[in-house]
C-alpha cells in the first residue's frame, strides 16, 4: 500500500528523535544534584567514603562524563537499556514489568474519554443553544477545570471509602489468586476509578472539541447539499457532519494518547497503580539514571507510536491524505 512508504520515513525520523531525546535526557538527569550512589548511601543510614567509592565504581560513575554518555548511547543503539543498580535488575525488565499496567490504564482512560467525549460533543452540538447543551458544556468546563489529582482524591473518598463500591487503589486484589475471567473482572473493578479520573479531563477536551468541530462542519456547503437531498437531521449529522468533524479530534487524541503514558504519574500515585509513570518518578527521586532514561525513552516511543497510529487512522478516514502526500 501507499501507506507504507511515508510511515517508514517517519520511523527513520522517529529513531533519530529518540536518540536525541536519549542524549538530552542524559544531560538533564546528570545535571540534577546528587547521584544514585549518594542516594543509596543516604538510605543505608550510614556510609563512609569506601562505600560511596565502591558504589560509584559499580555504577560506572567514576568514568569521565563523555565516556558514560558514549557508552550509554552505544547501548541504546543496541537496544540495551542498561542495568538498574538500585533495583538490581535490567531496566528493560523493570519497564516491561510496569508497562502493561500503564497501558491498560491509559488505553482504557483514552477509550472512555474519546467515546464519551465524542458522544457527548455530538449530543451537545445537536442541541446547540438549548438547556441540555448548556448543561453539557458547563459540565465539560468543570471537568476541564478540576485538577486531576483533586478529582482522584474525591473519587476515592466517595466511591471507595464512603460507599465502598470500588477498590480505591491497586491493580488487583492482592493474593486473591483469581484466574481467568475472575481475574479480568477483578482488574476491571480496580481500573474503574483511576481510568475515569484520568479520562475525565480528556473527555472534557474531546467533548468541547467535537462540539465546536461539529458546529463548524455543520456550516459547510456539503452539509447544505446533504440537506438538499432530503436527508434527515440525524442522518446528516452521522454520515456527513460527524465524519468530517472527527478528524481534528482524532489528531488531537493521537497527540494526547502518547502523552497520557508519561502523564499518568499523578493517577498512578494516588491510586497506587504499578505503572511506569510512578517508576519514573521514584527512579528520579533515587537518581536511578538508567531507569529514568529508559522510562523516558519508552514513553517517548509511545508518543511516536501513537502519532504514527493516528496518522494511519487519519489516512483511513480521510482519503485525501495518502493521495496528496
Amino acid at each position: 500500500m501507499a501507506v507504507i512508504a511515508p510511515i517508514l520515513g517517519r520511523l527513520v525520523k522517529a529513531l533519530v528523535t529518540l536518540l536525541a531525546i536519549a542524549v538530552l535526557n542524559f544531560f538533564l538527569i546528570h545535571a540534577a544534584p546528587g547521584d544514585p550512589a549518594v542516594v543509596l548511601a543516604g538510605e543505608a543510614g550510614a556510609a563512609d567514603e569506601q562505600m560511596i567509592a565502591q558504589l560509584r565504581e559499580r555504577f560506572g560513575l567514576d568514568q569521565p562524563f563523555h565516556v558514560q554518555l558514549g557508552s550509554y548511547v552505544w547501548n541504546i543503539v543496541r537496544l540495551d537499556f542498561g542495568y538498574s543498580f538500585r533495583q538490581g535488575a535490567p531496566v528493560l525488565d523493570l519497564i516491561l514489568d510496569r508497562l502493561p499496567a500503564t497501558l491498560i490504564l491509559t488505553l482504557t482512560a483514552f477509550c472512555i474519554s474519546l467515546t464519551l467525549g465524542i458522544a457527548l460533543g455530538v449530543a451537545a452540538s445537536a442541541r446547540v443553544g438549548k438547556a441540555s447543551d448548556s448543561l453539557l458544556t458547563t459540565l465539560a468546563l468543570l471537568f476541564y477545570a478540576t485538577p486531576l489529582y483533586w478529582a482522584a482524591l474525591m473519587a476515592v473518598l466517595v466511591f471507595s471509602v464512603e460507599l465502598g463500591w470500588l477498590p480505591g487503589f491497586g491493580y488487583e486484589t492482592v493474593g486473591a489468586g483469581y484466574t481467568g475471567l475472575a481475574r479480568i473482572g477483578d482488574v476491571i473493578r480496580h481500573l474503574i476509578l483511576p481510568a475515569s479520573t484520568l479520562g475525565l479531563f480528556f473527555m472534557a477536551v474531546y467533548m468541547r472539541m467535537t462540539r465546536a468541530s461539529m458546529l463548524e462542519v455543520a456550516q459547510m456547503d456539503f452539509v447544505k447539499t446533504a440537506r438538499a437531498k432530503g436527508l434527515s437531521g440525524p442522518v446528516i449529522r452521522r454520515r456527513h457532519v460527524l465524519r468530517n468533524a472527527i478528524l481534528p479530534v482524532v489528531t488531537l487524541a493521537g497527540l494526547q494518547a502518547g502523552q497520557l503514558v508519561g502523564g499518568a504519574v499523578l493517577t498512578e500515585t494516588v491510586f497506587a497503580w504499578p505503572g511506569i509513570g510512578r517508576l519514573m518518578f521514584e527512579s528520579l527521586a533515587a537518581r536511578d539514571y538508567n531507569t529514568i532514561l529508559g522510562v523516558f525513552l519508552v514513553s517517548a516511543a509511545m508518543v511516536i507510536a501513537f502519532n504514527i497510529l493516528t496518522d494511519l487512522v487519519y489516512r483511513l478516514v480521510d482519503p485525501r491524505i495518502g493521495a496528496r502526500a
Binding site: G262, L266, F296
Partner: protein, 277 residues
Amino acid sequence: MIRRFASNKGAVIGVLILLAVIALAVSADLLFPRGPWAMVQRPFLVPFSTDGLPLGTDTLGRDVAAGLVHGARVSLLVGLVSTLVALMIGVPLGAVAGFYGGWADEGAMRFTEFFQTIPNFALAIVLVAILEPTLGSITLAIAIVSWPPVARLVRAEVMAVKRRDYVDAARLAGLSKFRILTGEVLPNTVSPIIVMASLMVATAILLESSLSFLGLGDPNAMSWGYMIGAARTVIRSAWWLSFFPGVAILLTVLALNLIGEGLSDALNPHLSRKGTA
C-alpha cells in the same frame, strides 16, 4: 469586537471572576498583612466557626483565607509568566519556520517535534527536580513543556497569512523580509495566539498545582496547589483545607476558559465575516 465579546454571557462572567481573583491577589498584603504562613490560631478550626477566620485554619493553625489570597498571587504569576515565556519561545520559532520555510522550517519543526515527543508532564517533573523547586524553575519548566503548540499554531497561521496578497504586495514594495514578517504577517496572527494564551494560563495554573501536589512546589511560595497537596493527608478530617483552594483553581481556570472561548468567538474571522459580508 469588544461588543461581540461583551454580549457573550460566559465571557463576561469569566472576566468578572478573573478580575475578582486579580483584585484579591493584588490586595493580598493589605488584607492579610501577616502573610500566609503566620500561625494565628489553633489548627483545624472549622470554617465560619471563629470570627476573623472565615475559612478556618490549617494543620499548623494558619489562616486558610490568607493562604488563598496570597496563593492567588503565586498561581496567577506562574500562569502568566510561564505563558509569556512560552510565547517568547514559541512565537519567534513558529514565525521563522512558517515564514522562511525550507531549512529553517525543517529545523524548527524537528526541534518542536522533539519537544512534543518527550512526555510533557514527565519532562516538567524532571526539570523542576533538576533545577530544584523555586518559582523561577517551575515557571520555566511549565513554559518549556507548553511552547510547542504555540510554535505550531504560529507557524500554521503565518503560513496562511503569508500567502495573502497583501504580503506579496509588501514584497513588491521592497520591504525587507524581516519587516514583512514583523509588520505585515505577525500582527495578523495575533487573535488566535491570544485565544491560545488565555487557555495556556489556565493550563499552567493546573500544571503548577499538579507539580505542587507531587511535592515539587516552591516551599517559600504559598500557592493553591501547595495548599491542596499539603491538605490531602487530612482530606478526611479537614475537608475545607483542600476544598477552598480546589474551588479557587477550578473557578480561575473556568474563568480563563470562558474568556478564551469568548475571545475566540469574538475574534473568529468566520463569524465576523458572516456578520458583515
